[in-house]
């Protein structure tokens, strides 16, 4: 393994090299200090009741846990990032499997987990060909394994759920890990996660203040058309503006392409959220899990990243390329 690859995978001393990363961490620290002050202010001015306060503190505490878990691996190195995405994929699959009942089909669950390990290997190896090949191979394997229950009634359901889960939480989520194969991965991943989270926040704020017509009342009762449009506009501005720093000097760095990137990010983020809300409504559940007080499960938190990660990766990949300057087949070709 050459020195550059080793530094990308495991070198944490270059974590703060990019100005964008330093600014982000400073901004994050500021937010983490200001939010508790705001919560205390709400309490002092009597604008909130005890239950509301408890909920706000629970949410804040959950964020204190999320943030190091998400940002830590990205700062530590590409190797840690890929490993963290693998763990997240498996935990998200677990939530989906428990909510749909798929978890009772242990052979299918085992295959999906093995598929996620295979994807992780392909990503770590920087072997895009294998990453792509795993999808049809896994579809075949899941369809095959489900035969041996010898229970054709329900065959389509268990195969389809297994494939859907693998594609969403293995392949789509795995694209988040594939970013780590680029030298610029830290900026890109932080930018992606920040913009997707802001997208949610903008949709909420604009919806609360200006929203009247509901977007999809049966699917997501709190979402409004105004919120969706407002988020699209605001996120595009922020994503394009911040993107100028992250993608400066690359083929993405033209006003039109940056704006288009923002639009793609905003829509894919909102659609990911709505898609998982549709799944929840079909199942008749309110939250994916009770893991994080105030938030629900991992999927409640990360649903917006599901479609955004592949959409942004391929957009940037098409224009500029992802990891083209990095050595491919790190493990399989030495």
């Amino acid at each position: 393994m050459d020195a550059a690859t080793k530094a990308r995978l495991w070198g944490w001393n270059t974590a703060l090299d990019a100005a964008f990363v330093r600014w982000f961490l400073a901004g994050l620290a500021a937010v983490l200090v200001i939010v508790p002050l705001l919560i205390l202010l709400l309490q002092a001015t009597g604008k909130s009741n005890a239950e509301r306060q408890r909920e706000l503190w629970a949410r804040y505490r959950s964020w204190l846990i999320f943030i190091p878990l998400m940002i830590g691996p990205v700062l530590l190195g590409a190797g840690w990032t890929v490993a963290a995405v693998c763990v997240m994929s498996i935990l998200c699959y677990r939530e989906f499997a428990r909510a749909t009942g798929l978890f009772r089909h242990r052979s299918i669950s085992l295959l999906v987990v093995l598929g996620i390990f295979a994807l992780t290997f392909a990503i770590a190896d920087h072997w895009y060909g294998f990453f792509v090949a795993i999808t049809p191979l896994m579809i075949a394997c899941i369809a095959a394994v489900a035969i041996f229950d010898d229970q054709p009634k329900g065959y389509i359901q268990r195969v389809a759920l297994g494939i859907f889960a693998f594609l969403l939480f293995g392949v789509c989520f795995g694209h988040l890990g594939y970013f780590a194969n680029d030298g610029n991965y830290r900026q890109m991943l932080i930018w992606l996660v920040v913009c997707v989270e802001l997208n949610d926040i903008f949709a909420y704020i604009v919806g609360k203040t200006l929203g009247r017509k509901k977007l999809a009342p049966n699917t997501s009762p709190n979402k409004t058309v105004a919120g969706a449009v407002g988020a699209a506009v605001l996120t595009t501005l922020v994503a394009a503006g911040l993107g100028k720093m992250v993608f400066s000097g690359t083929e993405v760095d033209t006003p039109f392409r940056l704006v288009l990137l923002g639009v793609i990010l905003s829509f894919s983020g909102q659609l990911g959220d709505l898609a998982l809300s549709s799944i929840k409504r079909d199942l008749g559940i309110k939250d994916w899990a009770a893991t994080f007080p105030g938030h629900g499960g991992l999927l409640d938190r990360f649903n917006s990243l599901l479609f955004a990660a592949p959409a942004v990766l391929h957009y940037v990949g098409y224009l500029h390329g992802i990891g083209l300057d990095q050595v491919p087949r790190i493990i399989t070709r030495g």
Binding site: R98, T100, F103, R104, R106, L283, G284, A290, T291, P293
Partner: protein, 244 residues
């Protein structure tokens, strides 16, 4: 198009700690693999360290639901019983363990629930709710339980009376209850001891009983407990006569 049938996990929406102590806990792939590993190692070590003889394994039901009851004198009891079950039954069995002993602290609860797949039975105030949930689960999942109706480990090695709780689980149902007698576990690991000694352990498995016509109330439970106690004592005498 016909709608699909979804059956979410019964413990969905419960926090992790509460889930480990819930009778509705359903385990997935990780739990299954943990249990397989645990029972593989326990089975191997038991076979190497103790001489175990199982009589009457052919009397075990072919598939769930089932309830295995036995005399209780040692922590080894549940290990011997579970490893004596065929794989099909062992994969579906939940030992019912004392809540105050095995589910009090988080690490203990994680071990009991995660490795042994145990479900809690609270000795002090076992709510009707919990018993009904256990009863429903036994029949509908279907699954199997291992239960020690004495309610506690014997301090002397002698069997004491069976409590009526066992009746609450099976009265009025067609669930086969398999009486078992364990000899030698008290000698191998009595209550205050921390490490097992090598010993000869015998497990006598009796004919399953059914209580579908017994009413689901106090009298019925007493009838069931007494009948099972009688059967288990009888199994205890069978072995003793043989070995002279």
């Amino acid at each position: 198009m016909e709608e699909w049938q979804y059956k979410p996990a019964q413990d969905l929406g419960i926090g992790e700690m509460e889930r480990l102590r819930s009778v509705k806990r359903e385990s997935g792939l990780a739990g299954f693999l943990a249990r397989k590993t645990w029972w593989f190692w326990v089975g191997t070590i038991l076979r190497l360290a103790e001489r175990i003889q199982v009589n009457g394994a052919e009397r075990l039901p072919a598939a769930p639901p089932f309830l295995v009851v036995a005399n209780h004198a040692s922590h080894l009891d549940v290990l011997v019983l579970a490893t004596a079950l065929p794989r099909r039954l062992r994969d579906a069995v939940f030992p019912l363990a004392a809540g105050d002993t095995f589910f009090e602290t988080p690490p203990m609860a994680a071990f009991a629930a995660g490795m042994m797949n145990a479900l809690p039975m609270w000795r002090k105030n076992c709510g009707r709710h919990a018993i009904d949930a256990l009863r429903h689960r036994l029949v509908s999942e279907p699954c199997g339980y291992i239960l020690f109706p004495e309610g506690t480990r014997s301090r002397s090695g002698q069997m004491s009376g069976f409590r009526p709780g066992v009746g609450m689980l099976v009265s009025g149902t067609a669930v086969p209850v398999v009486p078992c007698y364990l000899r030698g576990t008290f000698a191998a690991l009595p209550t205050p001891a921390r490490w097992p000694r090598s010993s000869h352990i015998a497990l006598n498995i009796g004919e399953p009983c059914e209580f579908r016509n017994v009413p689901n109330e106090k009298n019925g439970w007493r009838i069931i407990a007494d009948k099972l106690e009688q059967e288990v004592r009888r199994l205890g005498e069978v072995g003793a006569v043989k070995s002279g």
